[in-house]
Amino acid sequence: MKKMILIFVICALLLVSLAVWALRGKVAGNALELLETGVIFILVGFAFFLGLSRVRSHLRKEPSEDEMSKRVMTKTSSLAFYVSIYLWLFIMYISDRITLPTHSLIGAGIMGMALVFLFSWLYVKAAGMRNE
């Protein structure tokens, strides 16, 4: 239950900060910002989906977590961590070749890690977990 609430609070915080950022008129409207906003919406959608599936389980009187969902998360996390190392290596490599402020590169890296987590989760769900 606590995790369920936490997921929705984080989603709300992200959306509120995005709205505040937009309302304060700091939006340049360039392609990079549009891309960042799109990625944030995808990640919020993913978190919202996870939260909603927990709510549905709660309503059906199922455990919100069981051995399979824990194993899915463990495998997803380890896979995402492994891929993220290469993502940061790539960012380090391109940081010498493009002119972007450090905070943008770090922001891109963090969002990239979240996207890697999303794709790892989709992969683990699609491939299943046999013979482990």
């Binding site: 059906r60 069981d66 051995e67 969902s69």
Partner: protein, 68 residues
């Protein structure tokens, strides 16, 4: 690892949700088990077999080709 969960569940006229509630897991876990996309822990395999009143080896069976 293969299993006969779908067949045994149909024989007892149990829904996936009912079986999930009996063994204390999410319905999604039963879906994954029936599709053969997940190998259960010994505890879960035992609980499922007990629900069907059968020994584990009659519900779950290993095929040698699946050995990692």
């Amino acid at each position: 690892m293969n299993n006969r969960i779908r067949e045994l569940r149909a024989r007892l006229d149990l829904s996936q949700l009912e079986l999930a509630q009996r063994v204390g897991v999410r319905r999604e876990t039963i879906v994954f088990l029936e599709k053969g996309k997940y190998n259960p822990s010994l505890r879960l395999a035992h609980d499922i077999a007990r629900t069907f009143a059968l020994p584990i080896e009659e519900v779950f069976c290993f095929d040698d080709g699946s050995r990692p």
